[in-house]
Symmetry: C2
Subunit: 473 residues, 2 copies
């Protein structure tokens, strides 16, 4: 055809290595559907008895599906007293992780409170009927207006993120002539620091407590420490909790202060999710080596997390000879992450030069987290067929950045087929955009029942804030 | 206070190096406000006579501001014939870059058409009154329904992204018994490939043309080649255009086909924006060295881009001895990027251990591009004051990823102060999310006139697709 058909040597080497890697690679995903309680019927995957492929056809694609049974069991585990006779931890769900009203209501009905980080989330909690004493307000970006509302309503606790907030919150409480229950957020030198919390290093956290205690309109009831990142092991949890408890000892000895509430934040990981390493991503991109899956059996479970955390607190308080504090937890991804999945349809297959691209109707516009975390993908209506095709799975927005999987082995796909991207219950929804395509509907399965939590965004919704009339300018 | 006050050696070294770097650093931003035609009155920056700080106070913060005069001049430059007696290029604005109806309408009124990549964008163009013959439909993710609509309406051109699309589009045109004007998208081995276009390598693009030409219901009028990335120099543009024209020569000799339309896509950069290099980012993060600004005077201007591109086409067609084709351009960032800026307020300053964090009411939720591109930030109400403070500028969402600038020198800031993040007219709006905070309002300044293009998202808007009633489940 007048054009060279000789591949460049680098490409040839890459192609050869990819074949070698392919020959040794696992043919089955490391994390099979049983990990999420999915059943198999023929070549279809079922969630609580519902065919995923049919759900997508019925409710439209892409589609977020919440698994009520998993959500219920996660919440129950968090809310159960870690041992007979002990108090349960108090659980405040991190709204920002998955701010779907239907999911939030479900959790609230089970006894979970609201952890909010903005005026909007605060408003939403109230709109959902959450009592003020079941709302914890965190974060570095509280507006004066929202602080005033927290004072007026008398919320459970407002955690002072950093030193500058103390005088501001105290002033507003004074203006309202109403005491506010506050905590002081500290950072212990593990996980997040930067804009979050007063560091214990060089006495900064202690100074923040001292200032807060002296403010007459602040009732300092709590200590708040959210580690950030993902806590995946007992060792990481122990190191974090011990550092917090060391600081409690400092508070007791230096200020004679023993907080009524110890709030350990969230950060417990989802067993089937882990951050992708740059090396892993590179080997996947260049040699098509499978991304390495997390080992869910080695991960810290909710049950073990709650038990170990409680045990560490009880043991330390025994040495203090002090009554036990209330323990607050603010789980996000560990509570909802694996109770949700994203269904997306194959729009088209592009084959070119030995490479195959599966062009999906959802990409980073609805599944941003897949760029940096391991999320198992399952062929929802081709289960059990040999996974002998390597696809680059891309989304619909016109950008090369819209790539979900550089190279993933799947059965042969055709337009209309359904992929299930697992563990979509953390950070998929809040990071979703209306980039050229509307945001998906959300349904909940509860055994045989399927209910709509959120309808798909319409074209009109996307421009609901705009002046569309031709006469305006 | 019972805690060590000794810094670790690594921290000490870093602190020392940061001081050295700071002493040698420029005290003025490399790109001053005059680059965008901003004026200075006292210590305030003015856009078309309007104080940015006051605009933000009046219309709420954060706020997107469109500069009509700049937008008009960019559009005029694109639409002006490159030399006396020559035809102007036909311009189709890339909707996905900045899908703000008020901006789109402004461009359409000047004679710019619509380049759309989804059913939603297609719908929006029609809603804005764009005639079908002024709509070009691109991208790898066209739904059957939207293709059918394109056939029925008779749009300007639908560009076939990849081989699989040819038969599908041909089938739909046949079903409708109506011929469709199509182009074939090619990739020339520069810039984007992957899911985009049929590669010229190994005859794939030629095979796609051959197949399309044989389809009775497709009228193959165009060749489409969108390079992707940023074209920043004459050399890059020349290499790209030459490669496309080489392929036109192949089409002529192999198929006897001379496309009526050559569509060169977009990708021209904005002179004041460039991709950040990993080294630059690293030195900024660790040593607080200023990010290196682009040199706008070295950048390829719109005028020069259009002139050079037209000249290359004319020269090549002279060698063909063929009449000139229509030239289509699909600019995105070069047309709107520098005609818009984002205003954001300081909510709080956190000082800790010598570091200062400016906590803003906008972060990556509204300015995602700042993570990977150089965007000048200007202190809108402290202009001319010594930029002797180093801030880490962070957004409001509770994530360490919500960092706009790791280290940037600015005048001393206080809550309520305004920062202007420049060149927000490309990819800020489509990548914006409702992550814990509503999306901002958009206004347009046109000389003394300020008009609202989009109101701020309300809390109710964010949950407009949800069932909020307590009785539902």
């Amino acid at each position: 055809m007048g054009l060279s058909s000789v591949k460049r040597p680098k490409q040839q080497t890459k192609a050869l290595l990819r074949r070698v890697v392919g020959a040794y690679a696992a043919r089955e995903p490391r994390l099979g559907p049983e990990r999420w309680g999915l059943e198999v019927r023929g070549n279809e995957l079922l969630l609580e008895g519902n065919s995923l492929h049919r759900l997508e056809q019925e409710y439209g694609s892409p589609l977020q599906v919440v698994a009520a049974q998993k959500l219920r069991s996660n919440a129950r585990t968090f809310l159960t007293p870690p041992e007979a006779g002990s108090s349960a931890c108090e659980v405040y769900y991190s709204y920002k992780t998955n701010p779907v009203p239907g999911v939030l209501r479900f959790l609230h009905e089970m006894g979970v409170g609201a952890e909010v980080i903005s005026h909007y989330e605060f408003w939403l909690a109230r709109k959902l009927g959450v009592a003020p004493e079941r709302i914890v307000y965190n974060g570095p970006a509280k507006s004066d207006e929202s602080i005033r509302e927290a004072v007026r309503l008398g919320i459970q606790t407002l955690n002072l993120n950093h030193q500058e907030e103390i005088a501001r919150v105290a002033r507003i409480a004074q203006e309202e002539q109403k005491k506010l229950r506050v905590g002081v957020r500290i950072s212990v030198g593990q996980g997040w620091e930067a804009q979050f919390g007063s560091p214990i290093a060089r006495g900064q956290a202690l100074a923040a407590f001292r200032e807060a205690v002296q403010a007459p309109w602040l009732d300092v009831v709590g200590l708040h420490a959210h580690r950030g990142g993902m806590i995946l092991s007992e060792a990481e949890l122990t190191a974090f909790v011990d550092a917090v408890l060391d600081f409690v000892a400092t508070l007791r000895s230096e200020l004679g202060l023993s907080p009524q509430v110890l709030n350990f934040g969230g950060s417990l990981g989802t067993p089937t999710v882990k951050p992708l390493s740059p090396l892993d991503q590179r080997l996947n991109r260049t040699l098509h080596r499978d991304l390495s899956a997390p080992d869910p059996d080695a991960a810290l479970s909710i049950e073990r997390y709650v038990a170990l955390l409680s045990k560490l607190v009880r043991a330390r308080y025994a040495t203090f000879g002090a009554p036990l504090p209330r323990i607050f937890l603010e789980p996000g991804r560990s509570l909802t992450g694996n109770a949700q999945l994203l269904l997306t349809s194959v729009l088209s297959i592009k084959r070119s030069d030995g490479d195959a691209y599966a062009i999906m109707d959802a990409g980073i516009n609805h599944a941003e987290s897949v760029r940096s975390e391991y999320h198992q993908v399952l062929a929802a209506n081709h289960w059990g067929e040999p996974a002998d095709q390597t696809y680059t799975v891309v989304g619909p927005i016109c950008s090369p950045g819209d790539t979900l999987y550089r190279a993933v082995r799947l059965p042969r796909l055709e337009p209309g087929d359904t992929l299930a991207i697992m563990d979509s219950g953390a950070y998929f929804v809040p990071f979703s955009t209306s980039f050229s395509f509307p945001r998906p509907a959300i349904v909940m399965t509860d055994g045989g029942d399927v209910s709509s939590l959120r309808r798909r965004e319409t074209f009109d919704d996307i421009v609901c804030c705009d002046q569309l009339r031709a006469e305006g300018s």
